[in-house]
């Protein structure tokens, strides 16, 4: 997407921020941030450490109110965090069922749970507790729960940052596959520019604190995840690193 399409998104967005400012005491964290997200768009937000990315997600989730500006959203929003929001006293299946409580019929609920676990490749782990699973498996279960929650928007706060590199690569492919079966609007906060370039329809780069919009980038190529060594990823990574103030020495 380019800036000329912004007006179209603002006309019918799933989530919009208009002149949003956030501060804690005398510290300004976010300053005049305005952007929108269209239905089923995959938006990545990158920025330097501590610039206010997680604050931005909390504002979008409605956990915080901005001191100035407005946040609009349609439908339900669910969050997936890097630290894992699975309830550790519940099995993987019970965690997914948390999102399926509206289904009264037990058999229907079990079927929906199994379907979700199967979707994320964890069909055999329904009775396993989160502490018995690896980091990647826990993220899959959390994703299954969020998808079962029938929310329009998924806010993902550095969901793969605690995983090793190979698992991260695998999870990128898995996420794309799952979203092709269960499309959702994704806001994906990451500090990994490569991840953003591989997965996102659009990448927003935030400045250092107070966070302002520094760059809006569309990596191109519809096939996702884009090949790591492909032209669109490498050129996007260069642009993103430059925007983040990192000189490319390669």
């Amino acid at each position: 997407m380019n800036m000329s399409n912004t007006a179209e998104f603002l006309a019918n967005p799933v989530l919009s921020l208009v002149d949003v400012c956030q501060s804690y005491g005398n510290t300004n964290v976010i300053e005049n941030l305005t952007f929108s997200i269209r239905k089923h768009e995959f938006l990545a937000i990158v920025g330097p450490s501590g610039c206010g990315k997680s604050t931005l997600l909390r504002l979008m989730a409605g956990h915080e109110r901005p001191v100035f500006g407005r946040v609009f959203r349609t439908g339900k929003v669910l969050t997936i965090t890097q630290h894992g929001g699975l309830l550790p006293w519940m099995t993987a299946g019970e965690n997914v069922e948390l999102a399926l409580r509206s289904i009264r019929d037990r058999r229907e609920r079990d079927a929906a749970r199994s379907q979700m676990l199967e979707l994320v490749g964890m069909a055999g782990s329904a009775n396993t507790y989160p502490h018995e699973l690896s980091g990647g498996m826990r993220q899959r279960i959390e994703l299954a729960r969020a998808l079962a929650g029938s929310s329009e928007v998924l806010l993902m706060d550095e969901p793969f940052s605690a995983l090793d590199y190979l698992t991260r690569l695998q999870m990128r492919t898995e996420l794309v596959r799952i979203l092709s079966e269960q499309p959702r609007t994704i806001v994906f906060v990451t500090h990994d520019v490569e991840e953003a370039a591989q997965l996102a329809d659009r990448v927003i780069v935030l400045s250092t604190r107070p966070a302002t919009l520094k760059l809006e980038l569309v990596p191109g190529e519809d096939i996702r995840p884009r090949p790591l060594t492909g032209e669109s990823v490498t050129s996007s990574v260069k642009k993103l690193l430059r925007a983040l103030g990192m000189e490319d020495r390669s």
């Binding site: 989730a61 956990h63 669910l78 965090t81 929001g85 006293w89 519940m90 409580r101 507790y129 502490h131």
Partner: protein
């Protein structure tokens, strides 16, 4: 310089244990934990008997282990010991359950709401700092002699620690769990039994163990001053009759029951739904 920091290659047992997936250290620790305590107890009893026979321990002040064994048989034969055990256990059970039934909701309320905490905590703190033994006078006047004053004193001893501990645990529940409850639209009741109570349960097991220890200490004191039976009253009776052998019998019984109760409560931690709270985080 190369330094060898571990070599078990010559040890066949270690290799076999490794292949079974059991670390060598835990095997020897387990064997040691089984063998060492009875050996130490037998050594202690042996030294005690020798000191008694050689008159190092004055006979008017110390019973011998053999006298204690005879006293134990006598107590069993007269059926007094089982009756005292049941009486004390009953008082502790009622006081314990009552304290949990009221302490748990009080703690949840104090931990969840700053308004409840602001209103009740000063008074709560005042009462918490009163020694339960200070209530003995009122306990006898209000309830007379028997089960009720002991139960009351147990309640006054452990209700406040339970409520305080629960309130601290509730206040420390990670925000991420509260957000999950918010985002998935849990009702107040669902939030209580699906998030708040399970989140505090691992620590609550430890709270229960501490509370049970205190309850077991207090029941002895309560029965000494306001009882007509029970292990505390038996100790009081032994002292009046100058029966040091029975004193030791009752002390051993109190200690053993205390350990068994603690072991039972500690075993609750093995419940699969609580295991997460006992995992050492490798961060």
């Amino acid at each position: 310089m190369k330094q060898l920091i571990g070599d078990n290659s010559a040890d066949g047992n270690t290799w076999a244990a490794f292949r079974r997936g059991v670390p060598q250290r835990s095997i020897s620790l387990r064997v040691w934990s089984i063998i060492a305590p009875p050996v130490l107890i037998l050594m202690f009893v042996g030294v005690w008997q020798v000191l008694f026979v050689r008159n190092v321990l004055p006979h008017a002040m110390f019973p011998s282990p053999i006298q204690v064994v005879h006293g134990f048989k006598q107590e069993i034969a007269s059926k007094r010991l089982p009756a005292d055990i049941i009486a004390s256990l009953w008082r502790v059970a009622v006081g314990f359950v009552l304290s949990i039934a009221l302490g748990l909701p009080a703690g949840v309320a104090l931990g969840s709401s700053p308004y409840v905490r602001g209103a009740f905590f000063p008074g709560f703190n005042f009462l918490r700092n009163l020694s339960p033994l200070a209530w003995i006078g009122f306990a006898i006047v209000w309830f007379g002699v028997g089960d009720a004053p002991a139960i009351f004193l147990i309640f006054m001893s452990i209700f406040f620690p339970i409520a305080l501990s629960v309130s601290a645990d509730v206040a420390a529940i990670p925000v991420v769990y509260q957000r999950v409850a918010d985002e998935y639209g849990l009702t107040r009741f669902e939030r209580l039994y699906k998030v708040t109570l399970p989140a505090i349960m691992p620590r609550f097991v430890t709270t229960l163990r501490v509370a049970m220890g205190v309850a077991w200490l207090v029941v002895v004191a309560a029965e000494m001053v306001a009882g007509h039976n029970g292990l505390g009253f038996a100790i009081y009776d032994d002292r009046n009759a100058l029966r040091q052998d029975l004193l030791v019998v009752h002390m051993i019984v109190i200690g053993v029951i205390g350990v068994l109760l603690d072991r039972y409560l500690a075993s609750l931690a093995k419940n699969p739904t609580l295991q997460w709270g006992f995992q050492r985080q490798n961060l």
